[in-house]
């Protein structure tokens, strides 16, 4: 059987291509270029060799035990040293030669403590413009054991957003303690014990019930207005008239 001339020509070319591809792929190309495991292993090696900039609080306490013990007792106990002092791995390697940054400027603390409405309630916030302007924060507050100069007398130190909301509402002149029982412990260990919320309808009724003598408060008939529920389950007492 005679192979057509075209096939002969094409067969030669195809054979050349296939053979050169095979030689290149299996002989010339080193395994290191092809193997997935080798690539991944060397990537992981490269990754692990990357320099470490943050030493971690456990490293700091090896030398700075006093600061570490001090901070563990106060409100900043969950902070890591490098959160404020910046990356300190180099300082841990070379304690005398490299010193970490120590924030002393007034601009620093408001990064966390400046008032922002989106911050969760209970987080202590101040307005940096009006709260002892000019003075550096550390003048009055020790960053390793920060306490307010006096135990918060007003709730707004930690509940700034609620206070601001209430301040523009019809309940502005009410004190927080009018409706909330605040155990003394809440001011020193806030998460351990919570203030109470009014537990009866009659409580709100003292101002808003038909028989109340409170002049400005709108009145409702307690017996048939939202019977099954406590008042604050519908009305937000910090902003009762709430815009629609």
């Amino acid at each position: 059987m005679r192979i057509p001339e075209q096939i002969q020509r094409l067969a030669v070319i195809t054979a050349v291509i296939i053979v050169s591809v095979l030689i290149a792929r299996f002989l010339l190309i080193p395994r290191s270029l092809i193997s997935d495991e080798l690539h991944r292993a060397s990537t992981i090696q490269r990754e692990n060799a990357k320099p470490i900039k943050f030493a971690g609080s456990t490293t700091c306490q090896d030398c700075h035990e006093d600061k570490s013990t001090q901070i563990r007792k106060g409100y900043h106990k969950n902070l890591s040293c490098e959160g404020c002092h910046g990356p300190a791995a180099q300082h841990a390697e070379n304690p005398m030669g490299v010193k970490p940054f120590a924030p002393r400027d007034r601009k620093f603390c408001p990064l966390c403590h400046g008032y922002d409405a989106s911050r969760p309630t209970g987080f202590p916030q101040i307005n940096p413009t009006v709260h002892n302007p000019v003075k550096p924060c550390i003048t009055c507050h020790n960053p390793h054991d920060p306490v307010p100069l006096q135990v918060p007398q007003s709730c707004s130190a930690c509940h700034a957003q609620i206070q601001r909301t209430t301040a523009v509402s019809s309940h502005a002149l009410l004190r927080c303690t009018t409706c909330h029982n605040v155990p003394a412990q809440h001011k020193t260990a806030p998460r351990s014990v919570m203030p109470s919320k009014p537990s009866t309808r009659e409580f709100c009724g003292t101002c808003h019930g038909k028989e109340s003598t409170q002049k400005d408060a709108p009145k409702i008939d307690l017996t048939n207005h939202g019977n099954a529920y406590l008042c604050w389950q519908c009305h937000y007492p910090h902003l009762p008239e709430g815009r629609g």
């Binding site: 990537t43 060799a49 943050f54």
Partner: protein, 268 residues
């Protein structure tokens, strides 16, 4: 072809094949995969080790937990990540970032990236009285267990490690950016200097040594916690026990390993 020719061919074939195999094996053995010896960090998370002291990735499986109600939006995490991982400082490249959500009474949702300051200051002349809910959401690479980015990489430059972290081989990445398109969380970016894809690695270089990722280390409220799902006692396991846990974009079945507690339904 007659018998003689066939035998001749055979005699040549086997040594040739053997030679080829030896050559390739020799070249392959020249590069051994390095197993990192990680010392156990004092007091920190113990990186479980192999009998010879090397870190054993098969005994860990990392994840992160984020509690929305604790995040104060201070961005310490973003700064720390940029410092630790040499991320370009410009506001266009982030391994992790924080979003602010504001939800008003008329169910309007405004989202803002607090790490990206636009010159036309978007005045959220938000009437505080109109705001129903407002919170911060930290975001980062979710280190998915079913990662679309690994699926689409044409050269296999991005891969999952055995301990659940997705890495990019910067020496093999060809910069085609398919992975950047495929990530539903926009966690990846093209590094302007290496022109390869880059993303959060859970600070893998810290984690194998028993340290915490930089963002977790500096978070002042412990809104971010890092944990080992294979560990018997870890913060992440307790996180899963005590919280109703959410992930981002569950319908895409990427099986993320960054878990959110108190995640609002408006978060995308």
């Amino acid at each position: 072809m007659n018998k003689r020719e066939f035998l001749k061919g055979l005699i040549l074939f086997f040594p040739a094949g053997g030679l080829a195999t030896i050559l390739t094996k020799r070249v392959g053995a020249g590069e051994t995969g390095g197993k990192e010896k990680g010392p156990e960090a004092p007091g920190g998370k113990e990186a479980k080790t192999r009998p010879n002291g090397a870190y054993d990735p098969e005994r860990h499986y990392y994840g992160m937990g984020i509690e929305i109600d604790k995040c104060i939006g201070c961005s310490r995490c973003v700064e720390a990540c940029k410092a630790e991982n040499n991320v370009p400082p410009e506001p266009f490249f982030f391994r992790t970032w924080v979003e602010r959500y504001v939800i008003t009474r008329n169910r309007e949702v405004t989202v803002e990236g607090i790490n990206v300051k636009s010159k036309t200051a978007r005045e959220t002349t938000q009437d505080d009285r109109e705001v129903l809910r407002s919170f911060f959401v930290p975001k980062l690479c979710n280190q998915c267990a079913n990662p679309p980015c690994v699926q689409v990489c044409p050269v296999g430059a991005t891969f999952s490690t055995k301990d659940g972290v997705i890495l990019v081989d910067a020496k093999r990445c060809i910069g085609c950016r398919y992975c950047i398109q495929a990530c539903p969380y926009a966690a990846r970016y093209l590094h302007p200097e290496t022109k390869t894809a880059d993303k959060c690695t859970f600070c893998y270089h810290r984690v194998v040594k028993g340290l915490l990722p930089a963002c977790v280390e500096v978070c002042p409220t412990q809104a971010r916690i890092f944990g080992d799902l294979r560990s018997k006692a870890s913060r992440l396991v307790r996180f899963h026990r005590m919280n109703k846990v959410h992930v981002l974009k569950p319908s895409l079945n990427t099986d993320p390993k960054v878990y959110y507690a108190q995640l609002d339904g408006e978060v995308r």
